[in-house]
């Protein structure tokens, strides 16, 4: 089993609902966030194109943040979710340096924090907060090894990309293009 998310860049309107939902669900301190919106504007006026991406931790299959953690606080759990155990984390910042996506931040309480794919909700059979709240239904989540999961079906007939594949981390966020 491997959890993954597909983000439909053609449907996303950049409303930031997922950002707020996450902050509320996970009690993210004010001024911080575990997911965010990137607007990538390319081209020369008047022919410009906008790509909207809801980004978060990629829960990389080959996660450098897990490898470089000196205490084992950063670790991978079932379904390939990368988690941080708060009271094992010494706040050295090595994992923040190692993440090509800048997906981690230093929590004001000292430990490092980031997206958990709402593991506490998955355990109860629910979806992640961001997926549930998205008004355009552009986030698809599930087990990518199950061909009938929401994420697998979303990827089936669409072209997609992952971000910075050359960093070699095997990211698990798929952006539908």
């Amino acid at each position: 089993m491997r959890y993954a998310m597909a983000i439909d860049t053609k449907k996303c309107v950049g409303c930031s609902d997922c950002v707020v939902a996450c902050q509320t669900e996970n009690n993210v301190p004010h001024g911080y966030c575990r997911d965010w919106i990137v607007e990538n504007v390319s081209g020369a006026y008047p022919i410009v194109e906008i790509e909207l991406r809801s980004e978060r931790c990629n829960h990389c299959e080959n996660a450098p943040c897990v490898r470089c953690c000196p205490t084992g606080a950063s670790h991978t759990v079932e379904g390939g979710i990368v988690m941080v155990t708060h009271d094992e984390c010494i706040g050295c910042g090595a994992c923040i340096q190692s993440c090509p996506y800048d997906a981690r931040y230093s929590h004001p309480d000292g430990y490092v924090d980031k997206c958990t794919f709402c593991q506490h909700r998955l355990e109860k059979g629910q979806n992640t907060a961001c997926v549930d709240v998205c008004p355009t239904k552009c986030l698809h989540f599930g087990d990518i090894e199950d061909p009938y999961s929401d994420v697998s079906l979303a990827l089936k007939n669409r072209s997609w990309k992952v971000l910075a594949p050359e960093a070699g981390t095997k990211p698990q966020l798929y952006f539908l293009t």
Binding site: I90, G91, V112
Partner: protein, 313 residues
């Protein structure tokens, strides 16, 4: 074609717009580790060569600074931690994939070793020193006989420590400026050279200083060669690494790096040392101080610039 990125709803302290999570503590830690490695390496080397008498500062006196440097370095590392009270977690596991982990363990071995080394020379430094307890006296006596074995261990661990100060950075694939294996040898050589500068500064013995200056000139030449190599590597690599190199070739770190590190910290002191060897009268502390300062700036620049570099997507 022009491309612009906007990130909305995100402005995390110390991460946006540029990563700046490591401040002065880490470069200082790397610097002190490098100096300690340099002093230990030469203390070990000249002990094995049986030159304790001729090279007294190198073998006996300079190593007194090593435990101090290491403890200060560890303290700097401690200050860098944001969740300090869990510091001990570093020492409940060994994680070979994490340079931070094996570096912390190396320091755990090196620090007591350097303390014991200095303890065996304490009686020579302070003639009427008294250990007070018989057991301590005997233990120190035992280690005094084992200096040669300790010298080998020191040399080996000094190389590990010196390389580690570079590998700590180069293991981060996500930061293109750091992600080059040359950083290991480069930081090692730089550490050895700053260690030598400390010894030269402390030494009152002309022959000893002469030998050390000669070694230092070679080390500086190697370091300059490695720096050229570093940039050649970057410029022929991927776009992100070319961009990383450009920070030093016209970008915001150009002056700091080339003036303070390369010219004032390496080339100029090497010239002064050569002139001094040729018989010109040059106060020895000038090149020594320049080398020490250059080494410090080098680490600050590398840590700060590295955090700015990143993958583009």
């Amino acid at each position: 074609m022009k491309e612009e990125l906007f990130i909305s709803g995100r402005d995390i302290p110390n991460i946006d717009p540029f990563l700046n999570i490591w401040h002065w503590q880490i470069p200082l830690y790397l610097y002190l580790g490098g100096i300690a490695a340099g002093i230990m390496f030469f203390a070990g080397l000249f002990t094995i060569m049986g030159k304790e008498k001729e090279m007294a500062t190198t073998v006996k006196w300079a190593p007194f600074l090593v435990p101090i440097a290491l403890v200060l370095g560890l303290f700097a590392l401690f200050l860098d931690l944001k969740h300090e009270m869990y510091f001990w977690r570093l020492y409940t596991t060994v994680r070979m994939g994490s340079p931070m982990s094996w570096g912390a363990w190396t320091l755990m071995l090196v620090t007591p070793l350097s303390m014991i080394w200095s303890a065996t020379y304490l009686k020579e430094a302070v003639p009427n020193w008294n250990w007070k307890f018989k057991l301590i006296e005997q233990t120190i006596g035992f280690f005094t006989k084992k200096r040669r074995e300790m010298a080998w261990a020191m040399m080996f661990l000094a190389v590990v420590l010196g390389v580690y100060t570079g590998i700590l950075l180069s293991a981060f694939n996500a930061r293109p400026l750091w992600n080059t294996s040359i950083l290991g040898p480069l930081f090692l050589v730089s550490g050895l050279s700053t260690g030598l500068a400390t010894i030269i500064w402390m030494s009152k013995n002309k022959t000893e200083r002469r030998i050390m200056s000669q070694i230092d000139i070679v080390l500086i030449a190697v370091e300059l060669f490695l720096i050229v190599h570093l940039f050649m590597g970057f410029l022929s690599a991927t776009a992100v690494q070319v961009e990383a190199a450009e920070l030093f070739l016209g970008g915001q770190f150009t002056v700091t790096f080339w003036v303070f590190v390369v010219i004032l910290g390496l080339a100029f002191p090497a010239v002064l040392e050569i002139l001094e060897l040729r018989g010109f009268h040059i106060p020895i502390w000038i090149p020594a101080l320049l080398i020490l300062f250059g080494g410090l700036v080098f680490r600050f620049v590398m840590v700060e610039a590295g955090q700015i570099t990143r993958y583009l997507y």
